[in-house]
Structures are given as C-alpha cells and as structure tokens.
Amino acid sequence: MTERNPSAPESSEAAPVLALEDVHVRYGGSHILQGVSFDVPATGVTALLGRNGVGKTTTLRSIIGLAPRTGRILLEGTEIQGRTTARIVRGGIGYVPEDREVFGGLTVEENLRLVDPDRGVDAPVVARLFPDLVSRRGQRAGTLSGGQQQMVSLARVLLRENVLLLIDEPTKGLAPKLVTEVADVLAEVARTTPILLVEQNLPLVRRIADRVVVLDAGAVVHRGATADLVADADLTRELLGVSMRRAGVA
C-alpha cells in the first residue's frame, strides 16, 4: 500500500508527549514493525488504526517494553530504551491491555490496591468514573462481566498519575450500551490525559479521537485528522478495508 501522507507535518500543537522513531520489532523470523515513526500530541486522543495483524498491539507493547524493539521512543523528550516495563509505567505511561487482563482470582479491591495500596476502591476517581466498582469491591474480578472487567482495567491505570495512556481495544466484545459507557469514560479521561487508542470501532473513534495513525504491514501508511479520514469513504475503505456505511459512521 502506498503511504498516503506519513511524512506530513505532525500536529502543530504543543510538543508531543510521545515520539516513535524508526521502531522495529522482530519475533523469531517475523518482522512485525518495520520502521514505525509517529508522534502522539500532548492532548486528546490519537487513534491507532489498521486491519487485524498489522502491528497495532505490538506497537503499544513495544512502547512499554513488552516487545523487544530497536529504534527510539521518547517520552516527553526522554529516551526510554533500556528501561524495564515497570520503570516505564512508573515514568507515566498507563497501559490497558487488550482483553483487560484483570487478576481474576483477586477481588476488585485487591486489583486496585496493587496500584494504589492506600486507597484502592476508595480513590475519588473510582467513585467518580466507576461507581459500580465501589459496590463490587469484594467480588472476585474473574466473576465480573466483560464490561465490569474493562472498568477495573481502566480504573487500575487511572489510580496513577499518567502523562500518557495506551489503551488497546477497550470496547472489544462489549455490548453497545457498555461501549457507550466506555466511550464516555475515555472522553472524560482524555480531557486531562492524552490517549493513544487502538480501536476497531470506527464510530467510537470518530466520536472521541482527534487524529488517527493508520498502520499496514508494520508501517505507518497514513496520519491526519480523524475528521479527514472519516469524510473520505474511499480512503477509509482503502486503509481499513471497511466502508463507512457498514462501520456505522456514515
């Protein structure tokens, strides 16, 4: 696929909170990321889009050191290569993985106290954004519904002061009502913390993302404003393999 405007100037907003420069990831004999470069501005939501298997999740995992990589990744201008995952996260990157990955054998309270030993469920942000979790504090996370588990997964990272959130398919497998709830939470969070969001749900992307980065075959093939992508049905079909009408955006 021809790179549409990957070298276009980045947003003219403030300095990026995160910059990827020529990032490569190899697993065994596979070359998953092949020189990925893009910036994440310090405000709003940046959506990382692309067909299945193009390297979106790997990009997030490479940023927090869960995938072996080469290239440069700068967080607020500081190179984070060589840092452990824990140190990168403590440096201000919150990570919500695909499939939530809550600790099913632990209670909701224990899941949250892993991050905030003093407050856990009692932290104000939990009562404000996830009131349902307060009443379920003693329930094992493995017995929660998918939507509730997603709330636990989101609440865990919001208990820490973050300069950037990496959120991987937060609405995957959720009912439409829950998708709306998650979108509301993300929109609320994005007011104060920039988000790099991997998401297949285009209506949600259109609603909360300011800009998009599109990957194909491990490389950036497009970046720009969300509105521009959504307005161009042919471009969306070419880059993502879906029509706007079928995706529920038109």
Binding site: T84, A86, Y95, L106, R156
Partner: protein, 294 residues
C-alpha cells in the same frame, strides 16, 4: 487400631516434611515459572549449616537449645543461598526455561559434589533432643514425638505463608504475579524485586526442611536434599504449581499413601505408590488437585 493410628500420624509427619520442602518450590514456580532443581541444594545447605552450628555450640548447652539455634542458622543460610542464586544465576535467565533447568541441575550436581568434597559422602549423625527421640502413647500406639514437631512446624509455616499471601502487599503482588506476572509489571510494580524475595523465602523454607529432614533421618548427607526434592516435586505437581493449599493437601496425601503402602504392601512399595499416584493424578485430573495446570 493402634497400627492405623501410628501409620496415620507418621504419614502425616512425613507429609509435613514434604510440605515444608515443597512450599518454597511451589511459590517459586508459581510466581516465576522457574523449575528450581537446585532446591535440594538449599535443603542440604540448611542441614549442614544446622549440623555445623550444633557442633560448634558449647556441649554444655541442652541439645534442644542448640537445635533451635541450628534451625535459625539453617533458615538464614537457606535464604541467603536462595537470594544469591536468584540474583547471580536465575535473574539473567528469566524466560529462558531450558537454560534455567540446565543451570539449576548443574548447581544441584555441583552442590552435592562440593558437600562430598568437604564433609565426605558418608552420612554424619546429628544430635536430637531426648524428647524428640522418644514416643508418646496415643490410643494404644507409641507415636514418635518428632512427627508432632514436623506437624507443628508445617502448620505454622502454612499459616504464616497464608497470612503473608493474604494480609500483606508482598503477598498481594505474589498472588497477582502467579496469575499474570507480565501484567503485574505493566502496572508499574517491580516484579523482579518480588522474585528475589520469593526465592529467598523459598530458600529459607528449604533450609528449614533440610534441618528437619536430617532430624528425621538421624544424619546429614550430601544427597539428602536431592532425595527429598523428588518427593517435593511430586507434591507440587499433584497439588498444582503455585497453589499453596494444593501443595498442603498433596503433601498430606503423598505422605499417607507412602506410609500406608510401605506397611500394607511391602517395604519400599511406598516410593513406587507415590509415583503411581502422580501418574494417576496426571491421567485423571491433568489440571491437578487444585485445578491449576500440573
């Protein structure tokens, strides 16, 4: 009736030793995925440390007092050996499982050879307090007193580890890490520090097991840790890797089966019956007694 009581108590006592030996192994595997074949060396180190300590203390001290000091030294030595092994040999090899096995097997062989080189291959007798060498009559059975000690120590260790796991932050991190250690790290928790602590804890429990097993055998010998390790591995696999409660249940079952088979079948059949029990569990319930993957 008295025979059965004797067999049950001695079987439980043996199970208690197996639990003490297996608890650290189970925690280490559950959290870190490390099959620590050097765990027997930790036990041997503890046993020799206690033996040397008891020999170095004034003869005028009561044996029980010297044994208590020996146990404390054994636990400390086990913890230090565990900590050093984790930092120096295991930490560079996380996620390299084959290399971990090779290193820990190599350490096990080297540890036995070193002990043989220093103290000889022959068993060295250990002193026991007079009460531990005696018996107590219960329901017509003359029960060896040392089995009560093993049971009490194992119960205290079990309660202590449960309290650690459920009442402390370290325990919370361990329980989360047993489920998904990558995610623990992705929450900003230095899981490697927890690994080191758990390895030291496992080493301490192994040191304790080593000194108690030498009391059970009446001697210390270089290969002692290795023979106890085999049963500890069987207990951990049957109970479910990483499950403390499963390990406790499996240890009791293994101890009882071994003792009953030795008595009702023939001497020596106990060891075989334990291996058959392991095969049976793996065939009928491959997810182990506790449901964890065996």
């Amino acid at each position: 009736m008295s025979d059965l009581v004797l067999l049950l108590v001695t079987g439980l006592g043996l199970g208690a030793l197996y639990f003490i030996a297996a608890s650290g192994l189970s925690l280490i595997y559950g959290l870190m995925g490390v099959l620590n074949f050097a765990h027997g060396v930790f036990m041997t180190a503890g046993a020799y440390a206690a033996w040397l300590t008891m020999g170095a203390l004034p003869v005028g001290w009561p044996v029980a007092g010297r044994l208590v000091v020996g146990v404390l030294v054994a636990v400390t030595v086990g913890a230090v050996v565990g900590l050093v092994v984790e930092v120096v040999l295991i930490r560079p090899l996380y996620r390299h499982h084959i290399q971990q096995v090779l290193v820990t097997v190599g350490l096990a062989l080297a540890g036995v050879a070193a002990a043989q080189g220093i103290w000889g291959a022959d068993p060295r007798p250990v002193e026991s307090p007079a009460w531990m060498s005696g018996t107590t009559d219960v329901l017509g059975a003359r029960l060896p007193n040392d089995r009560f000690v093993y049971l009490l120590v194992a119960a205290a260790l079990f309660a202590g580890l449960l309290a650690l796991l459920h009442l402390t932050r370290l325990g919370l991190v361990i329980r989360a890490g047993v489920e998904n250690r990558t995610m623990v790290e992705a929450l900003g928790i230095n899981v490697h520090r927890t690994f080191t602590t758990v390895f030291a804890l496992g080493g301490a429990a192994a040191g304790l097991a080593g000194v108690l097993y030498s009391q059970y055998a009446g001697a210390v010998s270089p290969a002692q840790g290795g023979s106890l390790l085999i049963f500890a591995f069987i207990v951990v696999v049957i109970g479910g890797m990483g499950s403390l409660t499963g390990t406790a249940v499996a240890a009791v079952v293994v101890g009882l089966v071994q003792q009953l088979a030795n008595y009702y079948a023939a001497s020596g059949v106990g060891d075989l019956s334990v291996v058959l029990l392991l095969a049976l569990v793996l065939l009928l319930r491959p997810t182990s007694l506790k449901g964890a993957t065996a």
